[in-house]
C-alpha cells in the first residue's frame, strides 16, 4: 500500500524543519497512546525525525481519541 493511498493528514506540503532547515516529507508515523498504536501519514523531518501535527488534528480528532481511550 503506497503512502498516497492511505487516509492522510498531510494538508500543507512546503513546511520546513526549524531545527534542520530540511523540507518535511510525507511519512508513515506510528502514533501510540496508552495501550494503542496505529499508523498515520504525517509530515516528518528526514533528518531529525520531528513530526508536524496540524493544529486542527492535535486539538480535534487526536484529542478526541485520547479522551475516548482514557474513558475505555
Amino acid at each position: 500500500m503506497s503512502t498516497n493511498e492511505r487516509a492522510s493528514w498531510i494538508e500543507h506540503p512546503g513546511w520546513v524543519c526549524g531545527r534542520c532547515n530540511q523540507p518535511l516529507q510525507a511519512s508513515q508515523v506510528n502514533i501510540a497512546y496508552l495501550d494503542n498504536a496505529f499508523p498515520v501519514d504525517l509530515l516528518k523531518c528526514p533528518q531529525c525525525g520531528l513530526v508536524f501535527i496540524p493544529e486542527n488534528l492535535a486539538l480535534g480528532k487526536m484529542a478526541e481519541v485520547e479522551k475516548s481511550l482514557e474513558d475505555k
Partner: protein
C-alpha cells in the same frame, strides 16, 4: 476463520495473521478454546464441529482431547494450512449456511471469532441448530460491543471485518433465543482482545493492519469508533432446546 459464502472478505486469509497470531487467528488462543471445551461438558468420543476452523488448531486440540472433531471452513487457503499442519484432521470445505451434515448428528459446535464475519448469522445459527442433537451444545467466542451506543459508528466504518460485525450482548442473547438455544454461560474475556491488540500494535500497525480497506479509513475515526463501542470479547455456551 472463514465461515460462509457471503462472508466479510477473506478476513483471516491474509498474511498479517501469520505475523501476529501463528495458527490461532483470534484472541484468547488455545487456552480459551480449552476453557470453551471444558464448559461444553461433552463426553470423550463426542462429535464436535469446529465451524470456521481456519488453520485447524482448535479442531486439532479437540481431537487430541479425545473428541471426534471435524473442522469446517470456506477458505481453501486456510484449509490447506490445516491439512499441512494437522495431517489426520477431518476437514470439510463448505459454507456454514449449508452445512454438509445430517440433522441431529453433532454433539457440540464450536464457533470461534467466526460468527461476527458472516453476513447471514441467522441462517448460520439455524444450521447449527439443525445439525446439533437435542441437548447439544454451542460454544461461541467473538467480539462484542460493550457499549451498544457505539454500534452505529462501528457499522458506518467502510471495512469488512469482525470489528464492524460486532453486536451487543443483548443482541447476541436475543439472537440465540430466537434460534432455539438456551444460554448456559456468558463470560467476558475482553483482556484477551486487549492482549491481541497490543501484539498487533507491535507487529502490524494495530487493527489498521487487519484488512486492506482500513488503509482508506481515517485512522483517528477508526480508533474513535472502536473506543466508543468499547469493543470486548466474550465466550458463551448455549444448549439446543428440544
Amino acid at each position: 476463520m472463514t465461515l460462509a459464502s457471503q462472508q466479510r472478505s477473506d478476513v483471516y486469509a491474509q498474511p498479517v495473521w501469520e505475523t501476529i497470531g501463528g495458527d490461532v487467528l483470534r484472541p484468547g488462543g488455545l487456552a480459551l478454546t480449552e476453557r470453551a471445551l471444558g464448559l461444553c461438558r461433552i463426553a470423550p468420543g463426542a462429535r464436535l464441529l469446529d465451524a470456521g476452523c481456519g488453520p485447524g488448531a482448535s479442531a486439532a486440540l479437540a481431537a487430541r482431547l479425545g473428541y471426534a472433531s471435524v473442522g469446517l471452513d470456506q477458505s481453501a487457503f486456510l484449509l490447506r494450512q490445516a491439512r499441512d499442519r494437522h495431517g489426520t484432521l477431518a476437514l470439510l470445505r463448505a459454507a456454514a449456511e449449508r452445512l454438509p451434515l445430517a440433522s441431529a448428528t453433532i454433539d457440540a459446535v464450536l464457533a470461534e471469532c467466526s460468527l461476527s464475519v458472516v453476513s447471514e448469522r441467522g441462517e448460520v445459527l439455524g444450521e447449527f441448530y439443525r445439525v446439533l442433537k437435542p441437548g447439544g451444545v454451542l460454544a461461541v467466542s467473538d467480539v462484542y460491543a460493550r457499549n451498544p451506543d457505539g454500534l452505529p459508528a462501528l457499522r458506518r466504518l467502510p471495512i469488512d471485518a469482525c470489528l464492524s460485525g460486532a453486536l451487543s450482548e443483548q443482541q447476541i442473547r436475543d439472537m440465540l433465543r430466537a434460534h432455539g438455544f438456551r444460554l448456559i454461560t456468558w463470560e467476558d474475556h475482553s483482556e484477551t482482545l486487549k492482549a491481541m491488540a497490543a501484539r498487533m500494535a507491535a507487529t502490524c500497525g494495530g487493527v489498521a493492519g487487519l484488512c486492506e480497506q482500513t488503509a482508506q479509513v481515517d485512522p483517528f475515526d477508526l480508533q474513535l469508533a472502536l473506543a466508543r463501542a468499547r469493543l470486548g470479547y466474550f465466550l458463551l455456551v448455549a444448549t439446543k432446546l428440544a
